[in-house]
């Protein structure tokens, strides 16, 4: 009986040890939680590119309204904007409205004589003196005080075009009737193209 009891005890202990060992090995052991923070920033961007007609030539006739440019200019405006922006406007402007083009000898063609007719971006364009520096709704980049320009694009921003682009085509003309005594010469000038997102 004692022997039987010993054998039973031994078997029982073995069984208990087996159960304990099996149970311990089957249960998962989890660590504490480490974290990795992902910060993704999509910055706002607004770019203009003159993709065609960066140089426009004119052959002027004296005292004549229509002196068209040799080519049109193509402007690509692209943006990625944050929520809250409602409008993108594109502007053509010159630093000095009194002398959009000059021969360097004191003879000038004023911005009022140079017309940029716009198509494709929601603005009609017009003479380069349509908007004056500091005027209502005129971007601050149209500076200094003598600078003038014209809006050549106006795109309403919604959730559907928060990252998008627009193409503007400019057709150029110089009217020499305002300066009938303009001397024969070569006149040069630079027109800046710039975009703004508001508000």
């Amino acid at each position: 009986m004692t022997n039987r009891a010993r054998i039973l005890s031994t078997i029982t202990l073995l069984a208990m040890a087996l159960v304990i060992a099996t149970t311990s090995a089957a249960a998962q052991l989890n660590s504490n939680v480490g974290t990795v923070t992902l910060n993704a920033t999509l910055p706002e961007s607004l770019t203009v590119s003159v993709t065609g007609g960066a140089v426009v030539n004119f052959t002027l006739a004296a005292n004549t309204a229509a002196n068209p440019g040799s080519t049109t200019s193509t402007i690509q405006t692209a943006w990625v904007l944050a929520p809250g922006r409602t409008k993108v406007t594109v502007w053509a402007w010159v630093a000095n409205g009194a002398s959009a083009l000059t021969d360097g000898a004191g003879d000038n063609i004023a911005a009022s004589q140079v017309t940029a007719t716009a198509a494709g971006s929601g603005s009609a364009g017009g003479a380069l003196n349509t908007s004056a520096s500091g005027g209502a709704g005129v971007p601050a980049f149209i500076t200094p005080a003598a600078a003038t320009g014209v809006q050549i694009g106006n795109v309403t921003i919604t959730g559907a075009n928060r990252a998008s682009s627009t193409t503007t085509t400019l057709t150029w003309n110089i009217n020499t009737t305002a300066t009938p005594q303009l001397p024969a010469a070569t006149y040069t000038g630079t027109v800046n193209i710039q975009a703004q997102a508001t508000p």
């Binding site: 003159v50 140089v55 024969a184 027109v191």
Partner: protein, 191 residues
């Protein structure tokens, strides 16, 4: 009481923190976004020009023939000449010239012999002796007009009347031995 105060302060602090977060989030759109500027170069050339045009009177009732010959052009009388110009700085004068080219031509010389005494019936009779020589070709020029160029007339026009023009009409046929020359009119800018 103190606990309530603490809760109130915590609420205010939380509200301020939330406001700050919202302002920070709204920051980028508060400032207007502008692009860099692209540039377009405009080059305008006003060339110098100088043109001349003859103004003429065309006889009325004369037109093209059935064969298309322009009698009106043939019988027109030049009455004036108009010079038009667009000049560069540095030009000071503009002159209109006429040039008449005389070709080589045989000339017959004869002496006119006076007879009688003035005022009592002086007459001239042709000498029986005649000589000939050949006149060399020549060109005579006359300045029809000259204008000073200033800022006020750098692009302008000027018309000069041709008072010595010779009218040619169908009723006055040109004699066979008549000299036919061409007056050339030219305009010149100086310098």
């Amino acid at each position: 009481m103190d606990r309530a105060k603490m809760q109130g302060r915590a609420y205010v602090a939380t509200a301020l923190a939330m406001l700050a977060i919202l302002m920070a989030a709204a920051g980028p759109t508060a400032a207007q976004q502008k692009s860099k500027s692209g540039q377009i170069v405009l080059i305008a050339r006003m060339p110098e020009t100088l043109t001349l045009a003859l103004n003429r009177n065309v006889k009325s009732g004369i037109g093209a023939s059935s064969q298309g010959f322009d009698y009106a052009g043939l019988l027109a009388t030049a009455t004036s000449v108009t010079a038009s110009w667009v000049l560069a700085r540095g030009r000071s004068h503009i002159a209109t010239w006429s040039h008449i080219k005389h070709p080589a031509a045989p000339v017959t010389l004869a002496l006119a012999v006076p007879g009688g005494i003035e005022p009592y019936g002086e007459t001239f009779t042709d000498s029986p002796f005649r000589y000939s020589f050949s006149a060399r070709p020549s060109v005579s020029s006359r300045k029809l007009d000259i204008l000073n160029i200033a800022d006020s007339n750098r692009a302008a026009a000027s018309t000069v009347s041709l008072s010595d023009s010779i009218e040619t009409a169908a009723s006055a046929p040109v004699p066979e031995d008549a000299y036919l020359g061409t007056m050339k009119i030219q305009v010149q800018v100086v310098p």
